[in-house]
Symmetry: C2
Subunit: 233 residues, 2 copies
DNA sequence: ACCTGAACACCGTTCAAGT
DNA sequence: ACCTGAACACCGTTCAAGT
């Protein structure tokens, strides 16, 4: 009875940094990032919270490791894509790489928020950036323009953008319509825009915008702009 | 003696939501966002932590209020700019608005991180977006393109981008050079780029990149792309 | 070498009680 | 109406002690 495994996982197996980090990803995947506490992480591994500190220096270290693990998953996916030998169509290659990275992040929706808090760059993230940069250089970018390009892309280089604007107040469709009418006086342009969008696409119960479409629009806008800058140089 | 004011501020003055939120901004300004705890906030106001809950529902509410306060500060600045009556030069107007918003955020460096955690949109933020949208509509954007534009800009619309990549490891210049040489095998493109940049601008002790220059580069890239999309439509 | 129990300093928050 | 003391449930982390 006392030797029964907790709801967590495998009954008994030595801890390791690797195992701790994998468990951290799994906890965040199932309960969101706010559920990732040292105590809960330990419980998930059938150990005590204090045992983690033997394999990991502190919680910051766990988060650093988690970012590296997710970035490794991204690398495994994007490195399977075969990229045209001549770098002529750099745009296609970069676009595909970024959209593939995005697919990984969509499986770990909490991850972008963690990436943004890390100033520390993981080896896997550096590896990702290095290859992305390589594609641009092969496509004829100078170091200088490629550098601007990385900044212009920002988090889009890794496949995500943080949505600042989420008009879905949580209420039903009628609630939202009522809210809109009420706000029309204060925010005429916003309300005009949102009503037209709601009219054009009436079955968007989940929110106003198609995130994937908007991500691709912004990405293509930037890639096209970079391509023109490259031609001018 | 017992009636002496704490290090905080004014000796005695009734609390209010307004006063609590202003104090929160001031605490974050001087000690960073991680120093903003309910207990410390109360101390700053010469009150007990529990007293705050009479004026504010919880800490989330404080953060929502803080965002609204900063956005109000932004509005006060950008609404003083006089915008050309005819909307022809929308790009100039939008650019100036965004760079002015950025100046406010540079006075509250912790604020972008808080903005990103809020899905709740404050009235002041909505007001900011509404006016920005108005400039684009006046410049000849359709609602649809203006909507894409807002997503493409993302947090840039408010004047910031989150830096994912901070190569300044904290060591001195010689440390960094040594680090670079060591990494050259693993990340050749990255190292090539960074050494060229360091060579071209040898006195950038504070970091590799000029954030303001990079912000403006990305902003102009997007604005130019949007202008072309508008012309095509 | 690896794991843990007890303990500390700190959170956000509730609730009954003061004025 | 406004503020507070005591208390609770939860954090991350240290440290001395177990095997």
């Amino acid at each position: 009875m006392a030797s029964q495994a907790e709801p967590g996982v495998e009954p008994r197996m030595p801890l390791s940094r690797e195992r701790v980090l994998r468990a951290a990803v799994s906890v965040a995947d199932s309960g969101g990032i706010e559920s990732l506490t040292m105590r809960r992480l330990a419980e998930h591994l059938g150990a005590e919270a204090m045992s983690l500190y033997y394999h990991v220096t502190n919680k910051e270290d766990v988060l650093d490791g988690v970012v590296d693990l997710i970035a490794t998953e991204i690398n495994e996916v994007v490195e399977r894509i075969d990229v045209p030998a001549d770098g002529a169509d750099w745009k296609k290659a970069v676009r595909q790489r970024i959209l593939s990275a995005r697919e990984v992040l969509l499986r770990h929706r909490w991850a972008p928020g963690v990436f943004e808090t890390r100033t520390n760059t993981s080896p896997a993230v550096l590896r990702y950036y290095d290859a992305l940069l390589g594609m641009m250089l092969a496509g004829g970018f100078s170091y200088d323009l490629a550098h601007h390009a990385m900044h212009a892309l920002g988090s889009r280089a890794l496949g995500f953008t943080q949505e600042l604007f989420d008009p879905s107040g949580g209420g039903g469709a009628t609630d939202q319509a009522a809210d809109l009418a009420e706000m029309a006086g204060q925010f005429p342009h916003l309300v005009g825009m949102l009503t037209e969008i709601a009219h054009d696409d009436p079955d968007s119960t989940l929110g106003w915008c198609d995130d994937q479409t908007e991500f691709e629009f912004g990405l293509d806008l930037i890639l096209d702009g970079l391509d023109r800058a490259r031609e001018r140089a």
